[in-house]
Amino acid sequence: MTRVTSRLNGLDFQQAVVYFGFLAIFLFFAVTLYDDGFLTQRNLTNIVLQTAPATIMAVGLVFALSAGEIDLSFGSIVAVSALSCAVILQDYPLPFGVAVGLGVGMGIGAFNGVLIAYLKLPSFLVTLATMGLFAGIARSMTNLRSIPVMNDTFTGIFGSGKLFSVPSLVIWTVIGVAVGHLIYRHTRFGAHVLATGDNPRAAQVSGIKVPRVRLYVMMICGGCAGLAGLLYAGRLQAAKYTLGESDLMTVIAAVIVGGTALNGGKGSVIGALLGSLLMGMLNNGLILMNLKVSDQMIVRGLIILVAVALSLRDSNR
């Protein structure tokens, strides 16, 4: 019995890391940066707005990791999707741009997925290669130029707009997390994702179509990256090949800190949201502290290291 309780405590501890970490860092900045305006509504809203694309990417990554796969290419997918959408919006109405942006994301995800699920190549290597491949395509498709997005409806819906005075990026975050959580926790597909990552052989002999699950999680990951690309393009009113480039580490860290296992079978969409907000808060706080960019990187790296170490503690039990 004591064994069971201590393991339950261990589980609680892992899941609690993100909540405590979130609270601790929030309180720390709230006190130390009070005079710099950390606690103002404007600054806090800003954190949520800035993390919206990363949160959406994180939701997708929860699915890939839970199924025992990884996606390193989502940053490149963000850029290609945003650029495709921006190019289309120059000549065609909004629905075409959105459809192409999301379609490109899911299409690249499907490309990754087919290689992983049916040619049985390891996802780490496949997406390492496609990360480079699509980063190159993003650069060549517009010759490194950035493409402005003039469509006001688009920048409203995916960027600076508001609905009942709630910023649209907040709405996208809520929708993305809610839908992701619902699918992950409350559908057969979500259960099959977890079973596939946990024990692929057991999943397969139980009649779960394991290759199909692997294909779908990569498509979800690509689709989420595509949506993140639209959100970037909407907020910045332009698309450039650099979009999403620097999000790889932040998003992976957010997902892991949020309680998703790197080797599959366990995860949390809500945790990924908190992890993503935590990363955003960290960025924001370190900037308000007037740290040099190099120092920000060092501190951020160290804090991520501690957070990941804490959230992975005891997980190989």
């Binding site: 069971v4 977890l194 079973a195 052989r201 139980s206």
Partner: protein, 246 residues
Amino acid sequence: MTAEQNVLSLTNIHKAFGGVVAIQDFSLNLKAGEVVALVGDNGAGKSTLIKIVSGVYTPTSGSIELDGEETSFSDASSARSKGIEVVYQDLALADQQPVFMNMFLGRELTKPPFGLLDKDRMRRESQELVDELDVRIPSASSTISQLSGGQRQGIAIARATHWASKLILLDEPTAALGVAETARVEGLIENLKKKNLAILIISHSLDQVFRLSDRICVLRRGQQIGIRETAKTDKNEIVSMITGVA
């Protein structure tokens, strides 16, 4: 269906991989409520036979009848849909998921109107099942990794019982267990007999085979050496059948 009708009839089953003969002319009938043990040395063809009955392999020739009707399985799912369940040696459990999700793995229950998972019902039915079979676990919500080897085996067997309507195949059900846990799992298998399922069990432990089975079927190098009624044979005879040394 009369009690005397065979649940499973294998007739002249032959399986070759390329030129290598794995199973030669194997015939066996299994009745409801009967436990037949399949024994033989490593490489005798026991696993091949289990895979044929569970639909993983298709026999090269010979016939499989279920309840007197000739059938063939295109894959493992089609055998499962006809009421045949396998308890694999490695148990095929997803360790980080709760007991009730494992019990319904691949066959999760949903509820209208949106087709979302009906976790309450799966939890409740799993609890009823483990209670009925007397598998003692903390609760149906426990994670598999929190359970002991015997408890896990119990879950795997309970799952097979829940879904099998005709036949359960058990592959080395107690190979990894201690003495007390083995006794509990054997008790569980005896309970299954009462549920009128046919049971085919592979085991390396002759003591266990003699405790559990009604009949013993011996294989050696793909050949069926013979079938004996457990009550009318002894270990010496079975050992000499297995080894081929009189």
